[in-house]
Symmetry: C2
Subunit: 341 residues, 2 copies
């Protein structure tokens, strides 16, 4: 049973399609009487305008695209929440794609969004795309968007899009400083993916803080975790067993924290007695476990909302200067940073 069309409504209400259209969009002149008549018919026939037809005719859709690297990572779920809320509030519709950190899936998602002619795109790239030919391919794809694009969480150098991201340098710095203040004299780090700017940046922040504190980061105290739980687990465990460890670590994100904590447990290291840490990103329900867990709050939901706001701002004034919103994290002390004698 076909859905009612504007033609059906027009016929039943004995008016022209144009009039029905005006009623739908509350645009142009329609006498109150006609309006009511039309509305009644629409209700009777359960009329819902076809988004596809509207998009085609208006040459603009009501869809906002969101591409993110991992749907089921709590960090991105919170971002999704922020984006989804605002999309809803403004009466848009959300098209979601997950790249699972894979550039080819990232590109596929981009192509799908182009096909949808999305009204705006919030994009968390799977990679930094600093190397050819990927970067060129990305540019070609991004050029196809005739709508605003906001980069979220991961900036893309050499592209000038509005961007909302954390202050990663400062974050790394704050985390390391917290450990220093707690009295640690040797500090290590579970580094994020060195292929990602945000990974290097956090590491740089740590480096800088340690240098300033006169205890430069040693190469052997950098555990390459790549923002991956398993890799972090393996490397951290290896490092623990090797001995001669720092007393405190900076962890680069929530997945690093998972891996690190598993490794610590396996190595029978107590937190913070045997090994202390400060991590980027909270863990769902961390408060409960009695586990001390000091972290940098990156306001994920708020960042999602900010990205959408930036998108809407640009939608309204396309010529405004490019925006880069850099959100400084908040340090939340929960005891895991402590130095035990």
């Amino acid at each position: 049973m076909r859905n009612a069309t504007i033609g059906d409504i027009a016929r039943e209400a004995a008016v022209g399609k144009a009039t029905v259209s005006r009623v739908i969009n509350s645009s142009g002149y329609v006498s109150e009487e006609t309006r009511r008549k039309v509305v009644r018919v629409m209700e009777r026939l359960n009329y819902h305008p076809s988004a596809a037809a509207q998009t085609l005719s208006r040459q603009a859709s009501d869809t906002i695209g969101l591409i993110l690297p991992e749907v089921s990572n709590q960090f991105f779920s919170e971002i999704l929440k922020g984006v989804s809320e605002m999309v809803d509030e403004r009466g848009y519709t959300l098209m979601l794609s997950s790249s699972e950190n894979d550039p080819s899936r990232d590109f596929r998602a981009l192509r799908a969004m182009i096909g949808q002619r999305v009204r705006g795109l919030v994009y968390i790239p799977a990679s930094d795309y600093t190397e050819e030919p990927l970067r060129g391919q990305l540019r070609r794809l991004l050029d196809q968007f005739s709508c605003p694009i906001v980069l979220l969480d991961r900036p893309l150098e050499a592209f000038s899009f509005d961007t909302v991201m954390s202050d990663n340098l400062k974050g790394g710095y704050m985390a390391a400083r917290a450990l220093v203040r707690a009295g640690h004299r040797r500090i290590g780090v579970v580094a994020g993916d060195p292929d990602l700017f945000i990974g290097r940046e956090r590491l740089n922040g740590v480096r800088q803080a340690l240098r300033e504190s006169g205890m430069p980061l040693r190469e052997e105290d950098i555990i390459p975790g790549k923002f991956d739980e398993r890799i972090t687990f393996e490397r951290a465990l290896e490092r623990f067993r090797q001995g001669d460890c720092p007393t405190g670590f900076v962890l680069s994100n929530n997945l690093s924290a998972f891996g690190f904590l598993r490794a610590a447990e396996k190595a029978k290291l107590r937190i913070p007695e045997d090994v202390a840490f400060v991590s980027f990103d909270k863990l769902a329900g961390q408060e409960l476990y009695g586990l001390p867990y000091t972290y940098l709050d990156r306001h994920e939901t708020s960042q999602g909302r900010q990205a959408m706001q930036a998108l809407f701002r640009r939608l309204e004034s396309p010529d405004r200067p490019v925006e880069r919103i850099v959100d400084p994290p908040d340090l939340v002390l929960k005891g895991s940073e402590r130095r035990m004698p």
Copy 2:
């Protein structure tokens, strides 16, 4: 700069639009030579067919809709992951809406999906809609879908859609039995939302197990948690302070567990020495904390995939009998169920 259209391609390649269309869809006859020529032009012009135009013309979209109650609840994130994976694999596109457990937002989401003329809908309702007028409104909306609908996680009685859900009765039963086996002689429950079938069902499972074990559930041992963290926290704390408590509890979902654990901590009750439990749903990263956490694994990602598979099955054979897939949870013993002397 407009996106290229099929007309542009046709002109540049000096062929008819129909031919270009055949190339796009690999349908009908096109000589290899022409095909190549057309493909070359499409690549040169970065051609991406307009999804809206295709939808309109084919009278069918490539979009799958997903409506869920809470985007940022880990349980639903995992479901989202399963759905999103399959949508991707089959070359569809995902439209996501979150109702935040609010029927009016639920309805709004449904209307949006109708407008999109989605090809299929995976629907986790915000409510059971057992009462009028809501149920009637829901029916009117659902009737507008000319595509398959699969109910996920929460069944809707009086509607005969394909359904994928947990075996909640059995889950409640298993959880309570686990406590009984562990030696508990008095068992309570943090009940889910009594307005939801799944909430009542889990409670019934617990009741049944306890009755069979000759220690019927007492009214005062039912803590009304409503699947809400805050409510559970408050009620559980109240109950703990009141004293004369069961030694073990069944918790109805992950949010109940959060609230319960916070309350236990606040009341200085140790797990499982002072109070034991078995909960529905895992917690992200629970393994890490050294917190014993016995739970029922409900295979969320798999359920998401199963829902999509059911959807595709129905898409392929619309006349097959209605399917109800009831997934029994797995009990994962992690020590929180233990009875300490």
